[in-house]
Every structure is written in structure tokens, then in C-alpha cells.
């Protein structure tokens, strides 16, 4: 998302771990809490070169 994506799709990881999408959603939530981000949209294109 920092690079510019508004959403992502999970593919191959589903074969390895059927819960991967759920894990990823939880992971994003905790990333946002840790980094004080209220709205996930703040991440879109947030890269600083």
C-alpha cells in the first residue's frame, strides 16, 4: 500500500495457510495500532523516497 496499492489480493499463501487472509487482516490492524494509523487509506502511496 505504501507503494501505491489501494487494496491487495492474496493468492498462493492460501495454499500454504487457509487462514492467511484472516491472519493478514489481523496483522494490518496491529500494524496500524502500533504506528498510530487511524485510517488504512493513510498508507496508500505513503512512500517517502
Amino acid at each position: 500500500m505504501l507503494a501505491g496499492a489501494t487494496a491487495v489480493a492474496v493468492g498462493t499463501a492460501n495454499f500454504v495457510n487457509p487462514y492467511s487472509t484472516i491472519d493478514i487482516i489481523n496483522g494490518i490492524e496491529s500494524f496500524m495500532e502500533k504506528n498510530n494509523i487511524i485510517d488504512v487509506k493513510e498508507l496508500i502511496g505513503g512512500l517517502r523516497c
Binding site: 505504501l2 507503494a3 500494524f31 504506528n35 505513503g46 512512500l47 517517502r48 523516497c49
Partner: protein, 325 residues
């Protein structure tokens, strides 16, 4: 009667190969940019230059180049991204200070050249002529053509043809053209390089890539993006070698164009995979920085694999992949 013990080689398989007139003891070469100018590695314990078939030196430009801001390497899953920016002391310095030191080794020395215009490549090729100790030239065409809008030579068949034709006009040394995977159809570029006068092709160079640190929101490389190498790119490289080999074996009749496979090689099995896809030799880059195994070990593993496959000459395996129908 002499008993044949299992697992013991009665006859040592023949690992020697020839690339565009460069005779090598085995098909393993060191990839450009991962070995400097060969001088540092003489201090690495247990490493002998003469074990490898050939050494490709770090990319060299006409003038001294300072390179990109640091960090220049970022670790990612199954590989690294680098953006060195072709830091090098310039061709005259390399010819004067490094090549003489490398003459003591029996291995073959290949100079990798890079440039920002056709004339720059041409001038470098000219200066290499009559230098004792350079056995071949590898042309890195993944450089922007500053004089013509900044597009990389490797992305366009016409630009590839013209720059190779110019270099060919200046040199009789074996000419290897190094192809980029960052194209829609690598065969078009291979064709242009061969028509321009290439004696052999090496592929692949790194795959364009970027990594971002989520804490700082900054790219992990000083230059923001770079090229991916290591095991992550091996299947890409295998496919490109296969496609190029298929084209050459069907359509290039007047000249034999050997292929050098590059990308993520770490073991004898990886090398045999490249050879089955169509490579005559290979180059190892990123994995020389990891020391998972030694070149010596890989060479003895290849010899063993060949015996297992009941093959006496490594050359016999080139392009012998059996396709599913």
C-alpha cells in the same frame, strides 16, 4: 577381476566447455559485480581462482563512476536487491592496475563493460584491444542510452543491434552480450544481439525490484529501487534460457551461439537444470556472497551427478529437457 564399487568414479566425466573460443575447465563462471576485480577473493581462505572456468569482472565504464547512494543492497525473501550504480574506477585504471595482477591465474578473465552511449561502449572496446590477459568481453546492455532519451539499450531490439554492431566493429575478442529479463520477449533482443555480431549470450541480469521499510515508509535502497538476484529469480532465468535456446536451435543456422545461464544458482543441481534448459555454461553471483557451499564442492557434485546420469560429457546434456506433450 576388478570390482566396480558403487559411487566411485572409474572415469572422471569431462566438464570442459568452450564458449565463443574461450576454453574453460568447467562451465562455472563468476558473475559480474559479485567478485570485484578478483583481487579481494585471493584473501578468501580456501578459494582458488583457478577452480572456476572463468571470472567476469565488475562492470566497467569509460570514465570513473562514483555509484549510487547507500544502502546499495537490501535483503528480501530468497534474494537480494542491489543498486550499486556501476561504481568503478574506469577502463584505463582497470586495464593498468587489475588485469596485470590477474594474469597469474589459469582461469579465463572476461571484462564486463557498460556505457551510456554507443560511442562510450565503442571506445571501451577499442581500449581493450591488444591488452594481454583479457579473454573476452561481456556487454552489459542494461544501461540507459543517455544520448537517445535515456531508455535502456536492452529494452529495444534496434538499440541493442546498433550498440553491438559498433562494439563488434572494434574488437575481435569473444563477444558475450548480457540480456535483461525486464522485457516482454527476450527472443527479439537475443536476435538483435546475434545480428549485431554477438558470439554468445549470457542471461539473465537482475529483475527490476523495490522494497519498502514499513516503519520509516522509505525504500530500503538509497537509489529507491534496484535489481533482484538470488534463488528468487532462478525459475525466471531457466525459462528465458529455454526460450532463447529454442529460438537459436531452430532459427540460427550460420553460427553457433552458446548460452550462459545466470540467476540464483547455488548447487550442482541448479547448474544441471540450466544446462538441460539450453545453457552451455553458467555464472554464479549472489550465492558467492553467502558461502552455503564452495565452488570446489559444486564441481565435484556435478561430476557425481554426471556419473549418476551415466553421462561422460557435460555438453551432452545441453538443451536435453524432455518436454511434456
Amino acid at each position: 577381476m576388478q570390482k566396480k564399487l558403487p559411487g566411485i568414479n572409474i572415469e572422471k566425466p569431462d566438464l570442459s566447455v568452450e564458449i565463443a573460443g574461450i576454453k574453460m575447465n568447467n562451465p562455472i563462471m563468476i558473475a559480474s559485480g559479485t567478485f570485484g576485480y578478483g583481487t579481494e577473493f585471493s584473501e578468501v581462505e580456501g578459494f582458488s581462482h583457478d577452480e572456476v572456468g572463468a571470472i567476469v569482472l565488475k562492470g566497467t565504464t569509460l570514465n570513473k563512476t562514483r555509484g549510487n547512494p547507500i544502502p546499495r543492497i537490501a535483503e528480501v525473501d530468497c534474494g537480494i536487491i542491489n543498486s550499486i550504480g556501476l561504481q568503478n574506477p574506469g577502463i584505463d585504471f582497470v586495464l593498468k592496475n587489475y588485469i596485470p595482477k590477474l594474469r597469474q591465474y589459469k582461469t579465463k578473465i572476461i571484462l564486463n563493460i557498460a556505457g551510456y552511449s554507443e560511442d562510450e561502449y565503442k571506445e571501451i572496446a577499442k581500449r581493450i584491444n591488444d591488452v594481454n590477459g583479457v579473454h573476452g568481453i561481456e556487454v552489459n546492455i542494461s544501461c540507459p542510452n543517455i544520448k537517445e532519451g535515456g531508455m535502456q539499450f536492452c529494452l529495444d531490439p534496434k538499440m541493442t543491434f546498433r550498440v553491438i554492431e559498433k562494439i563488434r566493429g572494434e574488437t575481435k575478442l569473444p563477444l558475450i552480450v548480457k540480456l535483461s529479463p525486464n522485457v516482454t520477449d527476450i527472443v527479439q533482443i537475443a536476435k538483435a544481439a546475434i545480428e549485431g555480431g554477438a558470439d554468445a549470450l549470457s542471461l539473465i541480469n537482475t529483475v527490476t525490484a523495490m522494497a519498502i521499510d514499513t516503519k520509516t515508509k522509505r525504500p530500503k535502497l538509497g537509489a529507491n529501487f534496484g535489481g533482484l538476484s538470488g534463488p528468487a529469480i532462478k525459475p525466471i532465468a531457466i525459462h528465458k534460457i529455454f526460450q532463447t535456446y529454442q529460438y537459436i536451435s531452430q532459427y540460427v543456422k550460420d553460427k553457433k551461439i552458446p548460452l550462459i545461464g545466470i540467476g540464483g544458482i547455488e548447487s550442482a543441481d541448479d547448474i544441471i537444470e540450466f544446462i538441460l534448459a539450453g545453457a552451455n555454461a553458467v555464472q554464479i553471483g549472489t550465492s558467492t556472497m553467502i558461502y552455503k557451499t564452495t565452488i570446489e564442492q559444486i564441481i565435484s557434485d556435478i561430476a557425481n551427478r554426471l556419473s549418476e546420469l551415466n553421462e561422460k560429457k557435460i555438453n551432452n546434456l545441453v538443451g536435453k529437457v524432455i518436454l511434456n506433450t
